[in-house]
Amino acid sequence: MSAPDFEALDVGDEMPPVEVEIGRELVSGHARFLGMPFPRFTDEEGARAEGLPGQIAPGNMSLAILARELLAWARGARLARLGTTFRGVVLAGSTALVQATVTGKDDVARTLECDLWMESGEGDRLVIGTATLAWP
């Protein structure tokens, strides 16, 4: 993925959609790293016992994956703000699609506003958010 610079980006531009694997081991390892080793994040059976359809990713991981993909695209930018709403469970072992669109540009502050989201294979938006990227 090539890294667009600030001058090349404008309102309406889209980050190329990124397919991300929500690996079971990555989820359980990340949850443990965060100090959240709860069954819903680490164990399929434990998650079902909590009434969930299966092991899920912590919201803190989903937002970090959005940031990961956004910063991999807008390399050279700083993440100044990130707001997220968790609308649905992100299942471990699934594949999700991360997308972002530029919704605003401030040439003086050298910032971009973006909408971004993670959707399931069925097209459901599981995590939605907005972000501000700042360039030096």
Binding site: P58, A64, R81, F86
Partner: protein, 159 residues
């Protein structure tokens, strides 16, 4: 007592202050790797010297790990025991976290409100961790929204 009876005097009051020991470079790299990040900017201290921060810094969302020592004040936690879940986060990022930084997390409740939808009432608690480094520089404000289904009508919004 119900959610609606939580006194608004809790808003803005610091209920926890937690000082973390200095963070290591290994910890910052481990966080990035636990997200599947292999970009040297976030995982290689030497390579990061050529990056925009002149050295290794934490991947920005590392701040969500710094949740302080107490989840909520007792008067709020008593009403948020029925399987609440994380509804979202709003984070303002400021100074980067570098190896050796000692972060202090100051926690406060910033909003309490109730919403009513088709499935009944939902209670929301918004709490903030204000993170500062050992130089007093603001590192981030992390606002977390916890949601719980209402157990009773609760008498209306507290917001």
């Amino acid at each position: 007592m119900s959610f609606a009876d939580i006194p608004r005097s809790v808003l803005g009051q610091e209920y926890d202050r937690h000082v973390y020991p200095p963070v290591s470079a290994e910890e910052l790299v481990a966080y990035a790797r636990s997200l599947g990040i292999d970009d040297p900017l976030w995982t290689d201290a030497e390579a990061a010297t050529a990056g925009p921060w002149g050295g290794l810094v934490a991947f920005p969302t590392y701040v969500v790990k710094l949740r302080g020592g107490k989840h909520m004040p007792d008067v709020v936690a008593r009403e948020m025991t029925a399987g609440g879940f994380d509804a979202g986060k709003d984070i303002d990022f400021h100074a980067p976290i570098r190896p050796g930084d000692s972060i202090t997390a100051s926690s406060s409740i910033v909003d309490l409100y109730e919403k009513t939808g088709r499935s009944g009432s939902m209670w929301f608690v918004v709490y903030r961790q204000e993170l500062r480094n050992q130089r007093g520089e603001l590192v981030a404000n992390v606002d977390s929204r916890m949601m719980q289904r209402g157990r009773s009508s609760g008498g209306g919004s507290t917001s």
